[in-house]
């Protein structure tokens, strides 16, 4: 069985500027894949190349086993939702959803039934006669989705579909879009620069940076096992500790020696240790654990259900962010000025050579 989509060595240059460098990627049928990366890294460009709206400088696009590298958009099989939705303002919701269905030599009632079915699918069956400007942002987003799905595409392309909405609506729609996608089983590519969105919705995430793919993997792959410093840094909060490798998994940061389950660096090599604020032991029998540290709390960033405490650890030479749940905050006396003891939890820690780090 062929992949739903294969990209082979996609390269894109705008004049002298290289927007994409040899992108290889395969997507399975029914998957939801997110392109995640900072602004300007080439996510939209890659999506538009898949859609045929932009032509790659080199490389091939293969959809369902068919080479569509040079096919015009109309000869490819996809539906697309843009960040702006691009709903036709002068057409009603029904006309928008049915836009791709007219002229298809189909009976009027057949089209009408299909439009109704789609509007029901996205929960807007009562709004068919309205114009786009009379709907809320979230509703407009769903109309755009219905319009893209109307022509039963094998591939659904979404360019930052939720970024124009406020936080509350965005969170609700995440679940709805994902649910709909799974129910229809339609292969979907979604572009986003919102990591939470990518982590909560995707089967797999493609992390991009400056026109290249940094890592492809499941949400837990990329969050827990980042392959590059960029990925570790881009997803979630992370402490980056300058350190020197001492060999055999031992490292020195400042004057503190750490024992980590990561090896492969020559003694004396400069490295960076990537450690998330939640990778720590703060309760129980800390005294018996390795990689123990004591720090003075210099600042607390209170975030509701948890907080991030900034600790000054003697000898480490750099501040450390450690997270505490609300309960731990109260139980352990996490307050500015207090001294607190903790141990690093090292099973997820990543170490990269300094020159690889950004």
């Amino acid at each position: 069985m062929a992949y739903a989509l294969e990209l082979e060595g996609i390269h894109k240059a705008f004049g002298d500027f290289v927007a994409l460098k040899s992108i290889d990627l395969t997507i399975e049928s029914g998957e939801l894949v997110c392109f995640l990366g900072p602004s300007g890294c080439g996510k939209t460009t890659l999506l538009r190349i898949i859609a045929g709206l932009e032509r790659q400088t080199r490389g091939r696009v293969i959809q369902d086993g068919r080479d569509v590298s040079h096919a015009p958009p109309a000869a490819r099989d996809y539906g697309i939702v843009f960040q702006s939705y691009a709903l036709f303002p002068n057409l009603t919701i029904e006309q928008n959803v049915g836009y791709g269905l007219v002229n298809r030599r189909r009976a009027r009632n057949e089209i009408k039934a299909r439009v109704n079915e789609l509007l029901t699918l996205v929960g807007l069956s009562a709004e068919g006669r309205k114009f786009p400007s009379q709907l809320s942002g979230g509703q407009q987003q769903r109309v755009a989705l219905a319009r893209a799905l109307a022509i039963s595409p094998h591939l659904l392309l979404l360019d930052e579909p939720l970024s124009a909405l406020d936080a509350k609506v965005r969170e609700r729609l995440r679940g709805e879009v994902r649910g709909l996608q799974q129910r229809l089983g339609v292969t979907t590519i979604m572009v986003t620069h919102d990591q939470e969105e990518a982590l909560s919705m995707s089967d797999r995430i493609v992390v991009m940076n400056q026109g290249t793919i940094e890592q492809i993997g499941t949400p837990s792959d990329v969050y827990e096992r980042p392959q590059t410093p960029f990925v570790a840094d881009f997803l979630g909060k992370v402490n980056v500790l300058r350190a020197t490798a001492l060999g055999e998994g031992r490292y020195r940061a400042g004057t503190v020696e750490l024992d980590l389950p990561v090896d492969g660096f020559a003694a004396g090599e400069s490295v960076r240790i990537y450690l998330r604020p939640e990778d720590r032991h703060v309760e129980g029998d800390i005294a018996s654990l390795p990689n123990r540290l004591t720090g003075k709390i210099t600042a607390i960033d209170y975030l509701g259900t948890f907080c991030l405490a900034e600790l000054a650890c003697p000898g480490l030479g750099q501040p450390l962010l450690i997270s505490y749940s609300l309960n731990q905050m109260h139980d352990l006396g996490v307050r500015t000025g207090n001294e607190i003891q903790f141990a690093l939890r090292v099973d997820r820690v990543r170490v990269f050579a300094e020159r690889a780090s950004t």
Binding site: R48, A51, G52, L53, R55, P72, P73, A74, A75, D77, Y78, G79, I80, F82, S84, Y85, A86, L87, F88, P89, N90, L91, Y99, G100, L101, N103, R104, A113, R114, E117, T120, L121, V122, G123, F131, P132, S133, Q134, G137, Q140, R142, R147, A148, A150, I151, S152, P153, A164, E176, G179, L180, R183, L184
Partner: protein
């Protein structure tokens, strides 16, 4: 909320457009681009190139290098005409721009009442041929002028010549400068003024250090536009210029009077020079201005200031009254028996003109021409701008080099004086071996030349409107397998209809009033109304000339009114979807 509705036979709605359908779409995209490029080439570029060629040939079509230039530059009339033209243009600019700036300042930066009214009055000159002002000033200050004694106060002996030319040109060009300056003063950052106020800056200092520099680009632009207009103005010097020779009239005499196309071409090129320079400067300056506009600024809300507002109101009333006086004078002059001796009202000038001087014919010609220009012009300009800006580059592969060429040609007419275009048309279409020769002297060529003459502004309006709508409509359309031209018709045109109507109105009014280009191209059968004013004036029938000018103002005014009403009605009727702009 998203119910688990059944997915009925999903594959059945899959659409695979046929090869034929895809090829047709490509053909339409390419065809449109080629058509537009060819049209601009034949009706703009080639005629202009013809001027260049003919200016280096002798009467028999033999290449003689720059001999024609040498001959003309050495002729005694040249120095005189050049000095006069420059004096005329510079003086007009120095009078018009400050007046328009004061007016614009009052509208945008003060709290005077009835701003809409003043603004509309100030736009009236656009509805009138420039000859109307010349005629009015003759009525007012001419040999039998009612206010003749007034010019005596300023030591002016006669209105014929430079004083009349400058006055009439100031009237005609005022709204053009005003529109630019209104726009320039509309964009201002309130925060700058707040900072200045916090520092206790005086009003005068604020004006000099914030307002003027902020409007700098608009001022340069207005100066260039007015200067170019005056350099290439033909009707005003012809009617009220007396013995003051200017380049534009020289061309007319050489080409029409003496059939000397070579020297005509030479003067045409010389006339093109200052216009192109002015246009180039303006273009450079505007480019830098773009950067200023992108900055996020807070709109400035003028506060009440008694003294300032009273002075500005007085100024605005004075200017408005003067503008109304000029239009009113022409209208009144056309209605009295013998100015200024017998002021009893009569329709004689109208009936005489209509019955004996062929005015009815001329008026019909103009109406005809204006309607065709408006229809053809708005259709071609808007469709052309769409094809240029919104068709996919991969569909027009191999033809994409045409896009910058078209863009350049679309902006070119702005820098080409109407007379120069007219000469180019004569040289090209009157050429015996041109297969398009049959067009010469027809209404078609009048319409085509006028559409080209006013192409640039209309093109800019269309491009601006197209840039304001969502840039992904075409992409969505392609993903839904709907050809772009269907989306153009079903979505783009309806959404942009107000702008299309604006373009329609612009073409109509300009076609009614234009003279500089058509004066070279009309035949006895196709004489337009504006040209007939010139003829009546030459024949000494100033009353009928005024009658015709008045009729043109009334007609363009009425059409403008009708179109504004239509736009208002349209926007109201479609406000269900227009009102709240979607993100």
């Amino acid at each position: 909320m998203m119910s688990a509705a059944a997915r009925a036979n999903p594959a059945s709605f899959k659409v695979i457009p046929s090869r034929l359908a895809l090829a047709a779409e490509v053909l339409v995209a390419r065809g449109g681009l080629i058509l537009l490029a060819t049209g601009l080439l034949v009706f703009l570029a080639v005629p202009l190139v013809m001027i260049l060629i003919r200016s280096t040939e002798n009467r028999d079509g033999v290449f003689i290098g720059l001999a024609n230039f040498a001959q003309y530059l050495r002729s005694p009339s040249f120095g005189n005409s050049l000095t006069n033209t420059l004096q005329f243009s510079v003086t007009t600019t120095l009078v018009t721009v400050p007046l328009a700036f004061g007016f614009a300042y009052a509208i945008q930066r003060s709290r005077i009442p009835y701003k809409g009214l003043w603004r509309n009055i100030a736009m009236i000159p656009i509805l009138a041929p420039s000859l109307l002002a010349a005629i009015s000033f003759i009525y007012l200050f001419g040999n039998q002028g009612w206010l003749k004694f007034v010019i005596g106060w300023f030591g002016i002996k006669t209105i014929y010549g430079m004083p009349g030319m400058v006055l009439a040109m100031t009237f005609s060009s005022f709204p053009h400068a005003l529109m630019i300056l209104l726009a320039a003063l509309a964009l201002s950052d309130a925060r700058l003024y707040e900072v200045a106020e916090a520092l206790g800056t005086s009003e005068w200092r604020k004006f000099m250090t914030i307002t003027l520099p902020g409007a700098k680009y608009g001022l340069v632009s207005a100066c260039m536009v007015i200067f170019t207009m005056a350099v290439s103005e033909f009707g005003v010097p012809k009617v009220i210029g007396g013995n003051t020779a200017v380049l534009a009239v020289d061309i007319y005499k050489q080409v029409i009077g003496q059939q000397n196309f070579q020297i005509g071409a030479v003067v045409g090129l010389l006339l093109l020079l200052p216009a192109v320079v002015a246009y180039g400067i303006d273009h450079l300056v505007q480019r830098r201005a773009q950067a200023l506009l992108t900055a996020r600024s807070v709109p400035y809300q003028p506060r009440r200031a008694r003294l300032r507002d009273s002075l500005l109101l007085a100024f605005v009333i004075l200017i408005s009254a003067a503008l109304l006086l000029v239009v009113g004078m022409a209208a009144f002059g056309s209605l009295v028996k013998v100015w200024p001796y017998n002021l009893s009202l009569t329709l004689n000038h109208y009936t005489y003109g209509f019955e004996e001087a062929g005015l009815e014919h001329a008026y019909r010609n103009s109406l005809n021409m204006a309607v065709w220009c408006a229809l053809l012009g708005s259709a071609v300009t808007f469709t052309g701008a769409y094809w240029l800006e919104k068709t996919r580059r991969d569909q027009t592969e191999g033809l994409n080099f045409l896009r910058p060429v078209i863009r350049f040609q679309a902006m070119l007419p702005m820098a080409v004086p109407g007379m120069v275009l007219g000469i180019g048309y004569i040289l090209f279409f009157n050429h015996p071996s041109n297969p398009l020769n049959f067009l010469y002297g027809t209404m078609t060529v009048l319409v085509l030349s006028t559409v080209i003459h006013f192409y640039s502004s209309s093109h800019l309006t269309a491009v601006t409107a197209l840039k304001q709508i969502d840039s992904e409509f075409e992409s969505v359309s392609a993903s839904l397998k709907v050809p772009f031209y269907k989306t153009f018709w079903r979505v783009t045109v309806p959404v942009c209809l107000p702008s299309v109507l604006d373009i329609f109105r612009y073409y109509f009014v300009n076609a009614m009033t234009t003279i500089s280009c058509v004066v070279f191209l009309y035949s006895p059968k196709t004489t337009p109304a504006s040209v007939s004013i010139l003829q009546l004036d030459e024949a000494g029938a100033i009353g009928s000339a005024a009658a015709m000018a008045t009729l043109i103002v009334v007609t363009s005014g009425m059409v403008t009114g009708v179109i504004f009403t239509l736009e208002w009605w349209l926007v109201r009727r479609t406000q269900a979807w227009r009102n709240t702009a979607q993100s």
